[in-house]
């Protein structure tokens, strides 16, 4: 676990942090869930969200510790503080779940997402697309006489912004990985 630089899990804290917050305002939270990498574990997590009617804005998963067979699932979800508490507690009940971290409340964190965009255009629009790509530090990973594929990494808002700019220029396909996130510092 040390190799992964993860702080003690929220699921193991005192029940004091289960104290209710009375707000009814919906918040966006990014959760990092460490799970045993066994068959069906993703289905359990997704089934929990669909079965109990929680939102998933983004979900990514990959094995991060090959020797320990642990995968890290990053989920971006939305809900009132009470619902967010429930989501974390419900995730904690899934047997192969080792730790649940709420990166949104556990201190500052960084979020990144990778996107690929195919833009089909010619003439001035081609020049403009390249100029904007340069500003956003997007890489060209494929090009034909009539199209580009840009690759862009950044916070989800940055990707949204770039996609918005590409749309009038001929954005024809967009693939996003979903959010990966880590807390800052040690």
């Amino acid at each position: 676990m040390n190799a992964l630089q993860i702080k003690k899990g929220a699921t193991k804290h005192s029940a004091y942090n289960l104290r209710p917050t009375f707000s009814e305002i919906e918040e966006r939270h990014t959760l990092a869930v460490l799970v045993e990498n066994e068959p069906g574990v993703l289905a359990r997590v997704i089934g929990l969200f669909s079965g109990r009617g929680y939102n998933i804005e983004s979900l990514t998963v990959a094995e991060v510790d090959h020797t320990g067979h642990l995968s890290r699932i990053t989920i971006v979800t939305k809900g009132t503080p009470q619902v967010i508490e429930q989501i974390k507690a419900q995730l904690g009940r899934i047997i192969p779940v080792h730790e649940v971290h709420d990166l949104t409340v556990e201190g500052p964190s960084v979020e990144r997402e990778l996107a690929m965009m195919k833009v089909v255009c010619g003439g001035d629009k081609r020049v403009e697309a390249l100029r904007l790509a340069d500003i956003f530090r997007a890489n060209v990973v494929d090009t034909t006489l009539h199209s580009f594929i840009f690759e862009l990494t950044g916070a989800p808002e940055k990707i949204d912004a770039f996609a918005d700019l590409m749309r009038p220029l001929g954005l024809s396909e967009l693939a996003r990985t979903g959010v990966a996130a880590l807390s800052r510092g040690e």
Partner: protein, 584 residues
């Protein structure tokens, strides 16, 4: 020490090593290797049910009455899908059971093979955890882990899906050893929170204990500690349907059951208290009624082993995550060390207020000389059996279930088995079989409605085959009584499909199975008939013809507050408003 054996043999060996001596099941093609092993040994008794749903409910009854894990063995496909209702029932009521399902061989999985079903996929949402084992070497470890998961933390059903080739193949068997599982739920409560609760107890003027199934789940020590704490502090105690028996019904601080069909005094105490101490209950909607009107002026403490139960429904002021017995022990220790204080004067006033509520006599009903009132039948059953320490009661689902909860008194934990969370009609009869298997000399009575009972009546074959003297006490109102009651209150007395038509002659039915049948319709004959049932050494179907349109009261209509409870003589027409009528 490692030993080589087949997967099928491993199943039997692991069960033995886990102390299992009884399993409930039904064979089929994919399970035959395991059945072959069962044939060749004598340590584990296999009870052949008549339907796999029956096996699961029997295992639930066995588990709840003995405190052990109930074990079920079924075949692939239809055998597995027939367990789904029982698994869901056990999940909602936190009952530890292990279901082993056979599966088609690994090389056929995914090919729509004969009797193939995606069992782990189907049962993922209705088990605490499940496993598909594809490697015989991993099998014994998974079985031991399954027992660990079923019994630790909040108990629940687990399932192991076992392909036929894995049963045939040989592998290394490992005996159980202390769990190395990362799944080690916390049992000790936080001392700061416990101290905060004790301080609240010392100051409270109108405290109440609201106890639930978690006390039973925690084991007999929890019930003892609860009784000690209640009696030492003199704080009144109520319980959910699932927690009945944790505090003795004859105890002087007992308020009776609370909730939708709970007692007036219990519900008003909950509504009016200034400190509510929830011990192993989950603020079910049958309890809270209208959330924003639920006990508006109280500080709420909640002891629960499952963090997700806390703040799920009701916001808690003093949350304590831990096992009931562990936490109660610490509460008692702290409370004693701080000088055993309560606000004695206020408690006297509080009890006086509760006594006023008691005078309402909320369970009163109009007696009849000509027909058997269901309440009367249960009063007589209680009077004639309550002195027997070995009396176990199971129920089906409906009015009779609520009347049983109201009119029967439970002195000990684990003697009351009912389907609370899922409300599964057809639960009670197979559950009574499981209870009798776990308690061979006990008096096991299933209080049933005729409609529920018919849902798993095939288990008469099981009861007769194994000479299980289970008593089926059917309160026969020839109606789906609880449905009819809701239709009366909510749907203008339009009794849509709530009749039990074409009922069998239950006496003949009993006889057809080789059991005893008793018919009783006159209140004057009731005592003798009940004694005849009890004294008969064998299974009995008791067909008790009761008043057909009796309503089960008190009742807090859905969407109403605790203090809007309907009583026996209340005007019930139009009691539930349209907003409440969308609730179930």
């Amino acid at each position: 020490m490692k030993r080589e054996m087949t997967g099928a043999k491993m199943v039997v060996q692991a069960l033995k090593d886990q102390g299992v001596d009884t399993i409930f099941g039904y064979p089929g093609g994919a399970a035959l290797p395991i059945y072959d092993e069962i044939f060749q040994q004598n340590d584990i008794r296999h009870i052949l049910v008549r339907h796999e749903q029956g096996a699961v409910h029997a295992a639930e009854g066995y588990a709840r009455s003995t405190g052990k894990v109930g074990v079920v063995l079924v075949t692939s496909g239809p055998g597995a899908t027939n367990t789904v209702t029982g698994l869901t029932d056990a999940l909602l009521d936190s009952i530890p059971i292990l279901v082993i399902t056979a599966q088609v061989p690994t090389f056929l999985i995914g090919s729509d093979a004969f009797q193939e079903a995606d069992t782990v996929g189907i049962t993922r949402p209705c088990t605490k955890h499940n496993w598909l084992v594809k490697d015989t070497d991993a099998l014994s470890g998974v079985i031991h882990e399954a027992f660990h998961v079923a019994t630790h933390g909040r108990p629940g059903p687990v399932l192991i899906d076992l392909p036929k080739d894995v049963q045939f193949a040989t592998g290394n068997y490992e005996p159980p050893k202390p769990s190395t599982s990362h799944y080690q739920p916390r049992v000790k409560g936080d001392m700061e929170e416990i101290t905060e609760l004790v301080a609240a107890i010392e100051k409270a003027k109108r405290p109440v204990f609201y106890t639930g199934g978690g006390v039973i789940n925690s084991g007999p020590a929890a019930s003892q500690l609860l009784t000690e704490l209640v009696d030492a502090t003199g704080i009144p105690v109520t319980s959910t349907l699932m927690g009945l028996g944790a505090y003795p019904a004859s105890g002087k601080n007992w308020l009776g059951m609370l909730g939708m069909h709970g007692l007036y005094e219990a519900n008003l105490a909950m509504h009016g208290c200034d400190l509510m101490i929830n011990i192993g209950a989950r603020f079910d909607d049958r309890i809270t009624g209208r959330i924003d009107a639920f006990s508006p002026k109280s500080i709420k403490a909640h002891i629960d082993i499952d963090p997700s139960s806390i703040n799920k429904v009701i916001k808690t002021d003093i949350p304590i995550v831990g096992d009931v017995a562990h936490v109660l022990e610490d509460i008692l220790k702290v409370w004693k060390s701080r000088g055993r204080k309560t606000d004695a004067e206020a408690l006297v006033k509080w009890h006086r207020q509760i006594d006023e509520w008691r005078k309402v006599n909320c369970l009163a009903y109009k007696p009849s000389e000509t027909s058997i009132k269901p309440q009367y039948a249960l009063e007589r059953l209680e009077a004639l059996t309550k002195d027997r320490k070995d009396r176990f009661i199971t129920t089906e689902v409906g009015q009779h279930q609520m009347w049983a909860a109201q009119f029967l008194g439970f002195e000990q934990p684990n003697h009351w088995m009912t389907s609370g969370g899922l409300g599964t009609m057809g639960y009670g009869f197979p559950a009574s079989i499981g209870v009798q298997m776990g308690n061979p000399d006990a008096l096991v009575i299933n209080v049933a409605g005729e409609a529920s009972w018919l849902m798993n009546m095939q288990e008469m074959g099981t009861a007769v085959q194994y000479r299980l003297p289970v008593k089926q006490f059917i309160l026969n109102n020839e109606r789906l009584g609880m449905v009819r009651q809701w239709q009366e209150l909510l749907h203008g007395e339009r009794y849509s499909q709530s009749w039990s038509e074409a009922l069998p002659d239950f006496v003949k039915l009993a006889e057809a199975f080789g059991a005893k049948g008793i018919l009783c319709k006159d209140p004057k004959d009731l005592d003798d008939a009940i004694m005849e049932m009890i004294n008969h050494d064998g299974p009995v179907i008791f067909d008790c013809l009761v008043e057909k349109h009796e309503n089960c009261l008190p009742m807090i209509p859905s969407g109403k507050a605790h203090n809007e409870i309907l009583l026996g003589d209340a005007q019930t027409q139009g009691a539930i408003d349209t907003k409440g009528s969308v609730l179930v």
